[in-house]
């Protein structure tokens, strides 16, 4: 499964402004196609309670479910820490099923703005498990990781990563 990273150089969606073309009662065909276009773009949101995330390190877990986003009222985004419960794990791994773990979101389907105006978004939601002190539980991180992690003081995950987006 390839991970595609989309970088949009437009800050906000351009089509938001163009969607309200029709003013009168006449519904033109152009209007309906714009509406279709708008409904086709899925709006991704935050990582919150009950979100299932993929684990991309070799700590032994495969899927975790978020219990709590540690920062943010609406949920966690790219680069934030979450508390999660392990739902699926490899049979002989360091982490067992049902364990409560901390993790850092390294890939999120919701776009995150960068300081130069572009946005990053990934195809899936992925997390790297940490312990309470912030040390990674695994030794390698698979897949691309964004360099938002550098600013968020997660350099350890960046050094263990195989590819930095």
């Amino acid at each position: 499964m390839t991970n595609t990273v989309t970088l949009n150089h437009l800050g906000r969606s351009v089509f938001g402004g163009l969607g309200n073309i029709s003013s009168g009662s006449l519904r033109t065909s152009l209007d309906s196609t714009w509406n279709n276009f708008l409904s086709q773009q899925q709006q991704r949101t935050f990582i919150q309670m009950r979100t299932v995330l993929k684990v991309v390190d070799n700590s032994g877990a495969k899927k975790v479910m978020c219990i709590q986003a540690l920062k943010g009222k609406k949920g966690a985004r790219l680069g934030d820490t979450i508390v999660a419960s392990v739902k699926e794990a490899h049979p002989n791994g360091k982490v067992k099923k049902g364990e409560v773990v901390y993790g850092v979101v390294v890939r999120a389907a919701m776009q995150r703005g960068r300081c130069d105006g572009s946005e990053v978004k990934f195809d899936d939601n992925a997390v790297v498990l940490l312990d309470k002190q912030g040390q990674p539980r695994g030794t390698r991180v698979f897949g691309p990781v964004p360099h938002e992690l550098r600013k968020k003081k997660h350099l350890k995950i960046l050094t263990l990563a195989e590819h930095i987006a």
Partner: protein
């Protein structure tokens, strides 16, 4: 003294891989660069926090074991890995580096310190000074994480070789092992 710093910086740049790479990286890394954006001499930016030679000197002063310097082209220029004999020693290495950075910037209006991670735990401390990233680990962590094997094999394994690419495109007809008798059309 400024001339000496400048000449040292130029020497550093001639050894690093490409200057344009550094420029691109600088655009994204605005957190540390903001305080120095007004400086006209661009070569100073590379040595603003901690230089490679200074780091090596400090590490030998603090008696850190097994120092390895690995040139990295991706998000930083150099990666330095050092071992500490105990958690206290690891924390001490981090503190010595910060102290040196503070000393270097004595008298300036704003001091930008290298960011440190993992200081409370003491098992793995990362000091990020822009171009150089220093990892101070203890013996167990070093054996566990095995950072050299990650970063010394620089070739990216993610790119499929041409052989694998050819194999991916070959169409394999599935074997028909069904026991159903074939209907003969009259």
């Amino acid at each position: 003294m400024l001339a000496a710093l400048r000449s040292r910086a130029l020497l550093h740049h001639s050894s690093s891989s490409s200057f344009s790479n550094l420029q691109q990286w600088k655009l994204g890394f605005l957190g540390l660069e903001r305080t120095r954006s007004s400086s006209s001499i661009e070569s100073n930016k590379a040595t603003e926090l901690l230089n490679l030679q200074e780091i090596e000197q400090i590490l030998s002063d603090v008696k850190a074991d097994d120092i390895r310097v690995i040139p990295v082209r991706q998000h930083c220029d150099f990666m330095v890995i050092a071992t500490g004999r105990s958690t206290w020693h690891v924390k001490n290495i981090a503190q010595a580096l910060i102290y040196k950075a503070k000393q270097k910037q004595k008298g300036a209006q704003r001091i930008s310190l290298p960011s440190v991670e993992g200081q409370e735990g003491g098992k793995w401390v990362v000091i990020d000074s822009g171009t150089v990233i220093v990892h101070a680990l203890d013996e167990k962590a070093r054996a566990y994480y095995n950072l050299e094997s990650l970063w010394t094999t620089e070739t990216s394994p993610k790119e499929p070789s041409s052989q694998e690419l050819e194999n991916a495109f070959v169409k394999i007809r599935p074997k028909n092992n069904s026991k159903k008798s074939v209907q003969m059309s009259s």
